[in-house]
Symmetry: C2
């Protein structure tokens, strides 16, 4: 493998690792456990799970990788804070989570290292020119950090093993 | 800049961004605010700050970049959970945080992209051979995720603006 391909593969592995941890935690929770707040008055695990699904679904647009799969999630999980509107069931969130992350990973694998270095969809060519680190890889790393951030919160409410 | 250098620079920028956020949050807290728990019965901000300092200080060894600066932190922030032993003052933690991250960043900048792809110090040549993603870059990304994970927790206890 060429060195820049190993660099990209390392970043994708880091993403996969975090996404897998979030999925494993959420799928191991009962519907009741998913409704536990991560701290008093803060978001519930279920809301954070849907929030990560919605934010990651938007990566299709930001990375210019095609149409989003579940635009409907934004109204519940991005436009509104938790407890504003009823949440989808855990089965529905789980399905969206699975759809989005399976499809994202398969699209990631189609990009060459050169394409990972192209500008991302939220930056103009004029802004990109002096700052070539505002590329697709920066979005992947940023979203990996974002998922880690909320995973740390979810872990505070992780149900104890019986 | 060659493409593999831009890839590495993107990863270092992601690290810098997270480290800066943690530092800004912790330095903006009073000594009293640093002793707030992120959730009932969980770690205090101050403990997490020292924990991240200790774990990141260990990157000098894992990345084979020379001697660690503050080995003494491990006894308090890694070997023991919060509330086991008295914590250093916030001024002491802040100084270690600054030392470690200034020095790490300057060492990061001395590594070529080829060197980032060399195996990290916790993997043997035999384990590395079939899995070239167990390289120094993987450590950088892993520690960035680890800092994001605890930053998400700290943010739950972030003091409200007056």
């Amino acid at each position: 493998m060429a060195s820049d391909e190993v660099l990209i593969q390392t970043a994708i592995s880091s993403w996969e690792q975090v996404i897998k941890r979030v999925g494993t935690l959420c799928l191991s929770c009962s519907a009741e456990q998913l409704l536990v707040e991560v701290a008093p008055g803060k978001n519930r695990i279920s809301y954070l799970w849907g929030h990560l699904t919605a934010v990651n679904d938007a990566m299709f647009s930001v990375l210019r990788l095609g149409e989003r799969l579940h635009l409907e999630l934004d109204a519940v999980f991005i436009a509104q804070p938790d407890r504003s509107v009823p949440l989808p069931t855990s089965t529905e969130i789980a399905k969206c989570w699975e759809d989005v992350h399976t499809e994202l990973l398969s699209r990631f694998k189609t990009l060459s290292s050169k394409e990972w270095l192209e500008r991302h969809g939220n930056v103009s060519p004029e802004e990109f020119e002096p700052n070539p680190t505002r590329n697709r890889l920066a979005v992947l790393l940023g979203r990996t950090n974002h998922a880690s951030y909320h995973f740390g919160q979810m872990m505070l409410a992780k149900p104890k093993a019986p």
